[in-house]
């Protein structure tokens, strides 16, 4: 089966996610597509970005040759000093996370199940995995958005009935934004809210394992 139209690129996925970041919110962005959201916010939206290593309120990054390794975010980049920032230790940083004070986290995903289970830390054949702060974020943020490609490189569904990879957290995902769709996780199942230009709900269903409920208001994927 060939795609009915092109899929969104990573920046476009991130731009769609950025629409769902609440003005004034405390937001943690994972590595990869999620990290791209920061540069793509709608105008007038002010967020406070949190990074696990103990920083809140950073914005743009300096280059690695001009930045200060003592002012880092969790992906290992060096943010610029901006007004309103705060530094703290890892205990405080995970009080924020575990205590449910992160409004939204955007994470990458290997698999998301019909029930909103997320697997994103280990491909078993890879051997060792890395959990980092991902399990704390997935289990405890008020809202979890997964931003990922809709399928693997072999075009196998990443949205599945049941995750075959080890879980990051069960029933944690609220919304999935992919290169072809926006899907809401509900108690009734997965609800297809938006599709990429040129993609019908049936086209999305064809590369999705669980049956999708098509929203009455299904629309083309919005962009900030």
């Amino acid at each position: 089966m060939t795609d009915p139209a092109r899929r969104l690129n990573r920046t476009e996925i991130a731009r769609r996610v950025a629409l769902d970041l609440p003005d004034g919110g405390i937001v943690n962005l994972g590595i990869g597509i999620p990290a791209l959201c920061a540069d793509l916010l709608p105008e007038g939206v002010e967020l406070r970005y949190h990074a696990e290593n103990g920083i809140l309120g950073f914005t743009e990054m300096l280059t690695k040759s001009t930045g200060d390794p003592n002012i880092m975010e969790a992906s290992g980049n060096f943010p610029k000093l901006v007004p309103g920032m705060a530094f703290f230790d890892s205990v405080e940083s995970f009080n924020l996370v575990r205590g449910g004070h992160i409004d939204v986290t955007v994470l990458g995903g290997l698999q998301v199940s019909r029930a909103g289970d997320l697997a994103n830390w280990l491909i078993p054949k890879r051997g060792i995995g890395s959990i980092g702060g991902g399990m704390d974020l997935a289990a405890n943020a008020k809202r979890v958005i997964v931003a990922m490609e809709h399928t693997t490189r072999d075009n196998q569904p990443k949205i599945v009935n049941r995750c075959s990879f080890p879980l990051t957290a069960p029933a944690c995902v609220d919304e999935i934004v992919t290169d072809v769709a926006v899907i809401k996780v509900t108690a009734d199942g997965l609800v297809l809210m938006e599709t990429a230009p040129g993609w019908s709900p049936e086209d999305v269903q064809a590369i999705t394992e669980p049956e999708l409920i098509v929203s009455d208001t299904v629309s083309v994927i919005r962009q900030a």
Partner: protein, 246 residues
């Protein structure tokens, strides 16, 4: 006199670390907050069968994570040095491998060759277990890890309709931490995100050794800016001015 904590050299500060010791290494991963000189001294010291406790471990040397770049930037150093040297046989951390597999980190090589055990702990659970060790709390409940491989073999319990895991305090024999300034009583001042795991580790180890840029008299640290109390610090060592490592 009794409060003086200055050690004469990095080598002297780590000289009594025995084979089989558990060693917490501060910072988060990356250069900021990493006690690089103490780590190199421990590598030269040669103690064996070590358990390393850190957070992000072993990915700076393969990916440059958290290290500055540029022609004058030094080659990254990370916990991998203890696996390359054959000194460490176990690591307890949250992030032992990068997303990419090439080149393999020293930790992953040691693990693949059966020379090292790797215990992966969720980051918030890792820091809370360390904090609990220092705070006299033997165990606590956390929601993180429920329904995942992390829960295997652990007690779980419901509170208010949600399930939590019982997690235990994590102590160590030594903590190696990095701060920018110490006073002679061992009070430490950190800057920026270099705190990370350091302050909690300093409370959780039998012996805490701090690597600092500067040692001042008492009063040289603002009492509002003491990040680790001298009460927790056994030895402080000053780095050479102009040390190329960040």
């Amino acid at each position: 006199m009794a409060l003086n904590r200055i050690a004469e050299s990095f080598a002297a500060a780590v000289a009594d670390i025995p084979d089989g010791a558990s060693i917490m290494i501060g910072g988060f991963g990356g250069a900021g907050g990493q006690p690089t000189r103490l780590m190199l001294a421990l590598r030269n010291h040669g103690a064996k069968n070590l358990t390393i406790i850190g957070n992000v471990a072993g990915i700076s040397m393969t990916t440059g994570y958290g290290w500055p770049e540029g022609p004058d930037a030094p080659a990254p150093v990370d916990q991998g040095i203890f696996f390359a040297s054959g000194q460490a046989t176990r690591i307890i951390c949250s992030f032992p491998v990068p997303g990419t597999t090439n080149p393999l980190s020293e930790i992953e090589k040691a693990w693949r060759e059966g020379r090292a055990k790797v215990d992966i702990v969720p980051q918030g659970t890792l820091i809370e277990r360390i904090r609990s060790a220092g705070a006299g709390i033997p165990a606590f409940y956390t929601p993180t890890g429920v329904g995942t491989p992390v829960a295997e073999g652990k007690e779980s319990r419901e509170f208010g309709g949600r399930t939590y895991l019982l997690e235990h305090a994590l102590h160590a024999d030594y903590a190696l931490v990095r701060a920018q300034r110490a006073d002679t009583h061992g009070n430490l001042q950190y800057v920026g995100t270099s705190r990370a795991f350091g302050p909690a580790m300093a409370t959780a180890a039998k012996v805490t050794i701090a690597e600092v840029d500067e040692i001042v008299e008492p009063g040289g640290i603002d009492p509002e800016r003491v990040g680790t109390l001298g009460a927790y610090v056994n030895r402080i060592v000053r780095r050479e001015p102009g040390d190329p490592y960040p």
